[in-house]
Each structure stands twice: as structure tokens, then as C-alpha cells.
Amino acid sequence: MTRSRHWRNNLIGYSFIFFPFLVYATFVLYPVFGTLQLSFTNWDGFERVRHFVGMANYVRMWKDPFFLKSLYHNLIWILIGTSLPIAIGLPLAVILWSGVKGFQAFRTIYFMPLVLSSVVVGIIWGWIYNPVFGIANEFLRMIGLSSLVRAWLGDTSTALPALIIAAAWQYYGFCVIIFLAGLQNVDISLIDAAKIDGASSLQRFFYVIVPQMRNVLTMIILYTLIGGFKVFDLVFVTTQGGPAGATELLATYLFKQAFQLNYVGYAAAMAIFLAFLVIAVSVLFIRLRERVA
């Protein structure tokens, strides 16, 4: 009796997940193994045979100055691209939370850039950074800093930070929303107590609110970290990694290796490395989320 019921339950369960799993396995799981397999070959995308080269592609990465440079750019992206939106988003969320008229409207506005396609963001910022007509230079001229005027996206020393600022513009509203959600769990009586004890608003922010937001803060950092490794779209639609490789990132570099230079095996190894980085951070992320929930 119980055995046949188990059997029936299994059958029902599997019939519900059959089609979702089929699609997921075909287009997500199976190709990951394909990439792993290719990463041990030196296939160029055309040859009929795929020569096994062992770990050669993984060794080659660490001797490839362009790969190392791209990885370095990702690290810069993560460093600035994480700290800037948080430094803006957290105080902004606390201000909104402490009672501002039109709270809903502000929240809606801050989040809005996030719904834009990276192509549109690229157009907006390409125009802001335009060497001749852009507001960035216009503004510098206005405040008398004409010496700083430059082609922001065409200059090897400013292109990467300029793109990171564009990304931060799009992303900081997301931080505001997540921090606002986290602030709902902050114990208000502690803030009142600190107020009675004479803590200034700045002290209350750093010693009472921030410590209680530690988990949400860590989660946002990990989330941005994952995003920082994956960045592709904004760079691809603006500088394409240029000028002179100044904005080349792991994702854009491996895209070129795979589809423009046809070093398929090598690109596959870099893709596996990228996936490994992202998954390692994600596992940390999920562990933490379980602890918070």
C-alpha cells in the first residue's frame, strides 16, 4: 500500500518537473559540460578533430598579459562599482526611511535607470562624455577647470572609471531598494535609546543602524561582486574593450577570443574560470542568505 503510494507520488512529481528540467538541462546544464570539455582542447571552431591539450589553456591564461589585464580591470570594476553605489545608496535609504514626504515617488525614481537597456545607458553616457558637446566637459569649463576637459571614453586613463560611473548611476537605486527592505528589520527602540543617550545622527547611523544592517550589506556586496565579474553589455556597446584594451574585461576578452579570433578552446577555459569565480561567490551568498532568513 505505502510502496505503491510512494511510487505514485514520485510519478506525479517527475511528470511536473519533466518539461522544465528538459529545457533547463538542454540549454544550461549540458552546455556547461560542453564548455568544460572544449576547455581541454585547442579547437578552432572548424577542424573536424579536437586535439586534447590537457590543462594547457588553463596554464596559458596566467601567462597571457591581456587576460591578466582584463582580470585586473574586473577587480577595479568590483572595487569602485561596489563601494560607490553602496556609499550613495545606504545613506540615501536611511534618509528615506527616517521619514521623507513622497517616499514612494523617490523610491520609484531611484530605481528607474535599472529598467533601461545597457544600449540606452551607453547612449546616454556616451553623450555625457562626448568630447566636444558632452555635459561632463561643459560642466568642467563652467567651473573653470578647462584643463581637465578630455575625451572621457577615448582616453586610456579615464575610460574604465568613466564606464564604472555610468554603471553605478544605473545600479545605485537597486542598493537603495534593498537597503530599504533591510531597514524594515532594524530595531527602532535601539535608535531611540541612542538618541536619549545623546548620540548625534551621524553616530546613530554608524554605531546603531549600520551594525544591524551588516547582513544585508554583506549580501549586497556579494551580489555586486557577482555582477562585477559578469559585466559585458555596457562595455560591449560603448568602448568594446578599447581604447587600447583599457576597458577590456574577462567577459569581453573571452567573447573576442571565442568568436572573433576563434581560439575556442582557450575561450572555453576562460569561461570555466569565470563561472568558477561567480559560483564560488554565489555559494557564499546563498549560505549567508540562509543565515539571514
Partner: protein
């Protein structure tokens, strides 16, 4: 009265900060939209002034000659089946993982979470050659199927959380009344899940609408391009004609921002739930 003024003044710096950032978030976009309504000359002579009169030639030209009518249609053709597919399959899987008992359920659920943050780069190379081999490269299917596959982990995750929150008594009662498992799912669970489904629909539409890499790889014929690719190549071709580029950017962003303003609660709720719950 005096107290009110003092209070207002104390609150002022706070409002200055929140308003400055509202301006920072909002103006670039409004400025692109208004520039789309300017003549070529006006954009360069008065870059920051509002348009002197509504000049719609850029929009008309982008829509017709720039083929944005075609790109918009293609975006819809790709987005609708992708969103429908993700909703249908995620509801099935989410229900199974959240409410049914079967052997290996938890392991399979963790396996499906694996795709939650997996970068598309990790699968794009074999997928590209697969599409080439089976001959569906440069068809809508080549974009829709992988897009559904990559939408499933989040959708399943979200629908499972929702179905889990529905009390089991609802199912027991239905079963006593003689409902089969399929009937319980279709007639009781799905209608209850409508709020979750609409949140998922909104988010997935946004992601598919803005997807760049998947169509870039799998749609190599221009007449199949969605708005993302259309606008990207358009921008490359008309580098100097800012009026036209802004018109293209307007055509692409206006519908999604409109949808967002209409349904912002769903957007915000979905994003929050997906990140911290």
C-alpha cells in the same frame, strides 16, 4: 507657525539630498527623450534647452527608415513566448518543488538553483555550435529556447517560495472533494499564484526585452534583430546623427519605462524578493 518653519528648515538638507539624487537619476533620460524632439542643429546649439517645438522627424525616420518598427516587432516576438514559457515551466517546477513529495526533490532543486548566477559565457560556446549544427541559428527559436532555460532558475525559485507559503490544507480539502493532482494545480494553485505569476511576468519581460548577448550570438540576420541589437548597430552606423540615435533610444526605452511606472510595485517587490528572500 514659528515651530513649523524651524522644523521645515531642519528637514531641508535631507530633502536637498534626496532631490539631488532624484534629478541625477531622472534628467539624463528625460534629456534623451527631449533631444529626440530637436533638430540636428538645435541639439548642438542648445544641448540643454527643452525642444523649441515638437520636431517628430527623427522619430518618424528612425521608425521607418531606421527599421525600428521591425526591431520593435522582433522584440515582441521574442519576449512574449519567452515570458510565457518561463511562467508555464516555472509554475510546474515551482509547484513540484514546493508542494509535492518525490524522491530526489531537494537535490534536483539545488541543481536548478545552480543556473541562478551562472554566467551565460559558461554555455555560449557549445550552444553556438549546437545551434549551428542543428540548423536553427538565426531563427527566433535559437534565442527563445536558451532565454527560457536561463529564466527558469529564478522563476522556479520564486514560484517555489510562493507555493510553499500556501497552506497544505487547501490541497487536502480539494483532494477530499475528488480533485486529481492536475486539477488541483490548474484550478486551485495557479489562480492562487496569480500575484506571483504577474511579478515574474513583469521581471522576465524586462530581462528579455533588454537581453543583448543571446540575440547577438544567435541572430545573425539583421531582419531578425530585436531592439537591443537594432539600436546598437544603428548607433554604430549613424555616429554623428545624434537626433536619430536619441529617437532610437526613445523608442526602445519609452515602453519599458511606461510599463515600469504603471507596475513599479511589481518590479520592486520582485527584485527585493529575488535578492534577499
Amino acid at each position: 507657525m514659528k515651530l513649523k518653519i524651524v522644523k521645515m528648515f531642519c528637514g531641508l538638507p535631507r530633502y536637498v539630498v534626496v532631490i539631488i539624487f532624484a534629478v541625477v537619476s531622472l534628467t539624463p533620460l528625460i534629456w534623451v527623450w527631449s533631444s529626440a524632439l530637436k533638430t540636428h542643429m538645435e541639439i548642438f546649439i542648445n544641448p540643454f534647452a527643452p525642444p523649441s517645438k515638437f520636431y517628430i522627424d527623427n522619430l518618424v525616420k528612425a521608425w521607418n527608415l531606421g527599421r525600428f518598427s521591425k526591431y520593435t516587432l522582433n522584440s515582441v516576438i521574442i519576449t512574449v513566448p519567452t515570458v510565457a514559457g518561463v511562467i508555464l515551466l516555472s509554475s510546474l517546477a515551482g509547484y513540484a518543488f514546493g508542494k509535492l513529495r518525490f524522491y530526489g526533490r531537494d537535490i534536483l532543486f539545488y541543481v536548478s538553483l545552480f543556473g541562478l548566477t551562472l554566467p551565460f559565457q559558461a554555455v555560449m560556446i557549445p550552444l553556438y555550435y549546437l545551434m549551428l549544427d542543428i540548423g536553427i541559428i538565426s531563427t527566433y527559436r535559437a534565442v527563445i529556447l536558451p532565454a527560457i532555460g536561463f529564466g527558469l532558475p529564478f522563476g522556479t525559485f520564486m514560484m517555489r517560495a510562493f507555493f510553499k507559503s500556501i497552506p497544505g490544507e487547501v490541497m487536502d480539502a480539494a483532494r477530499v472533494d475528488g480533485c486529481t493532482d492536475l486539477q488541483i494545480f490548474l484550478k486551485i494553485m495557479l489562480p492562487l499564484a496569480l500575484p506571483a505569476i504577474s511579478t515574474l511576468a513583469v521581471l522576465q519581460s524586462l530581462w528579455t526585452w533588454n537581453e543583448l548577448l543571446i540575440p547577438l550570438l544567435f541572430l545573425q540576420r539583421q531582419e531578425l534583430h530585436p531592439l537591443t541589437l537594432g539600436l546598437m548597430f544603428f548607433k554604430g552606423r549613424y555616429t554623428q546623427d545624434y537626433g536619430l540615435i536619441f529617437a532610437g533610444a526613445t523608442i526602445m526605452s519609452l515602453p519599458i519605462v511606461g510599463l515600469y511606472l504603471l507596475l513599479h510595485r511589481h518590479f520592486i517587490k520582485g527584485i527585493t524578493a529575488g535578492t534577499i528572500k
